[in-house]
Amino acid sequence: MNSTLANAPTATPRRICQRPGAGEWFNGRTNGLILSFTVLFCVLALESPTFLSGYTLFVLSRQVAFCVLIALAQAVCLVVGGMNLSVGAIGSMTTVVLGLCLDSVHLSPWLAVPAALAFGALSGWLNGALITRLKLDSFVITLSMMFIYMGLRSGVSGGQPYRVPESFTFAGQRAFLGIPWVFVLASGLLAAMAYLFRWTVFGRRLLATGGNADAARLSGIDTARMVVAANVLSGLFAALAAVLWASQLGSAAPETGDTWLIVSFAVAIIGGTGLSGGVISAFGLFMGAAIFMLIKHGLVELKANPYFANAFLGTLILLAVVVDRVREMYLERRLPAEKLAPPANP
């Protein structure tokens, strides 16, 4: 074609986080996250005398790690263009399964933990299988599964926590070179996910499925399998978070996952996971979790009325979405006007 110059766009718009095949780690969005994190961190360090103490940082980093795990469970589903409303319910039910194994059957933690993780993966698989076989929306399926698991965990446990052996608390309470084991684990997992989505066939097929499911299917990607796989990962991450939570708590409390749903969405959204699929950033998830916990901590320091906590969280999510949208609109305006197709006659 001869209109070469006319068609070559002058500037490549910067991509936001990891899309199928995107190569950059840092961009406008991650810079914004780093900036907010730094500001929050400095303000807290200056204003609160106890903030920089080893104990506060230990506890905070552990909480960040839990946020990361929970957000990952949501993000892998968002990536393929779905969602998982049952992250918390799977977490709760996993805790009950773990409690039963440890407390009622007296299994060794070496067997009980794999059993609990297997339960998480299995419930994720069930979600995925129902979504793809029945060709139903992930919203409906995971909503009903959420209620099923919540009912089951209350019925089975009777609301009572299960005891866990002393040795089981190692991962949740101990540290490695001063860093909580939970944090080490979550960071490792996050790095693995970053690798997966950036380099591997599997990860990029997940991204492609969320980016454009029709195009992915018609390019020879087994999109149904990708959706199932994402849900299995989601269940697995939720279960892992539940097991670590029980380890940290020193008991398997059935109400473990009750607050996870909001947290999972909040951190994933602040971290720049695309709500319509195809976009994820491991680094963003980490920063999202850190910012989330810093704000929560800040509210405690300010002695804000805890009854208002959810209002702050909601505002935060809204803010993250609005900022994102504004930037997208700004980028769109810089794109060359899209060529209109001629009206296809019927």
């Binding site: 074609m1 690798y195 591997t200 454009n212 018609l218 390019s219 001629p342 006659n345 019927p346």
Partner: protein, 505 residues
Amino acid sequence: MTPLLAVRGLSKSFPGVQALANVSLEFNRGTIHGLVGENGAGKSTLIKLVTGLETPDRGEIRLDGQPVRFRNWREAQARGIALVGQEIQVVPESSITENVLLDRLATRGPLRRVDWPAMNREAERFVRSVGLDLPVTTPVKGLSAGQKQLVRIAKTLAARARLVFLDEPTSSLTEHEAGQLLGLLRELRSQGVTVLYVSHKLEEVFAVCDEVSVLRDGQHVGTRAVAGLTKAELVAAMIGREAREERLGRLPVDRGCELLRAERLTRRGKVSEVSFALHRGEILGFYGLVGSGRTETARLLIGDDCPDSGAVFVRGRQIALHSVRDSLRRCRMGYVTENRKEEGLFLAASVGTNIALTVWDRMVQRWTRRISPTAEREVGQRHVAALDIKCAGLDEPAGNLSGGNQQKICLAKWLAADCDILLIDEPTVGVDIGAKEHLHRLIWELAAQQGKAIILISSDMPEIIKLASRILVFRDQRIAGEVPDVDAPGRTYADISAAIGRYLN
């Protein structure tokens, strides 16, 4: 008597395409006026301009002899113009009454309560007059497609329309329902309503219209009274343009090497009894109108849809495909979709990703399990160079590229996967002239020089005659006929288009 509606010198262009050029038409009171033409001839554009859905670049529209310019659909509606489109737009959860009187709910009392009894009585009148014999309180969602279409027409009656546009109203109706609808049109005409009837089905045009106008490439070819007109004359007017395209020469088809064969392929309601064979180095054209079964056949061949009966043979072996993944892996068969933006591309992803995604699993490094970045770039660069894709680099998002370059990417991903059977669906829709020429040459050379076997689906007659060595004409979900030796020396455009035209009616 002045015509009810007259358009003069109407023109409209979209980027890269002149959709309508200097069209002048008159629609007389109390007549049914047919409007025919190929896909892209400008029929829908004309309707959009007259009903205020689009604004013309030039020209004037006169209603009752007065110049009018509708800024939107509501203004046109207020002047007694109604539109019944091919997709049946109804409010499924509402009753027939609500659908018919949606924009004129009668209220009474100080609380402006909806007066249902009065509305039901009112709706009843219109519903009966279109020959629909159902209680008006029936929810619309349970009705058949034909009944829904009748509800839509009842609605236009309720709006006291003097001029009704029907854009392919029978495309989703059964034959019986379509017959009923045509009867209703004659009824409307006798009540003094003017009807503009757009259809691909020439039988219907001959059955019901008084006059017929033909559009071709956005231009008005002519208007004739239907009485005394033959179907062959009408088809000739629709497709008979001069052979302005050069021919590319004869394709060296290897008749001894059959790559793909379909036998009595059938999918209920979509494709029936389709049989053909495709050889190495051949471009087999699938010509027909939208919905005639061409794309549906392609989807069966690549495993995106499953046939109810019939068999597919690839390289001589019978094969049952269940997904595009199957057809790619087992048969090296690729499908370039008809709408590249919705089904072909990942617009936000890079050019490199869009090209290489079919071969990611072939470039995985052994120990790290990662896709080799150098291999991926190499594949991308090779195809960007081979197909002359104009982009700022492999990292550029595919959405930034022009239509022609996007289409090349859709093609490139299958070439990267070494596919030697390609199904290419409407490759040049929405592509500007220069890119179109380039794509044509590219497709032709794939067959001529690399021996690819290509099925080319197109509604664009010059395109298909230029490229194909053999053309199958689809009509009503089956192959109506075959035009062989399209690329033989001595065959003219007029000659081939006449042969195609014979199978179309």
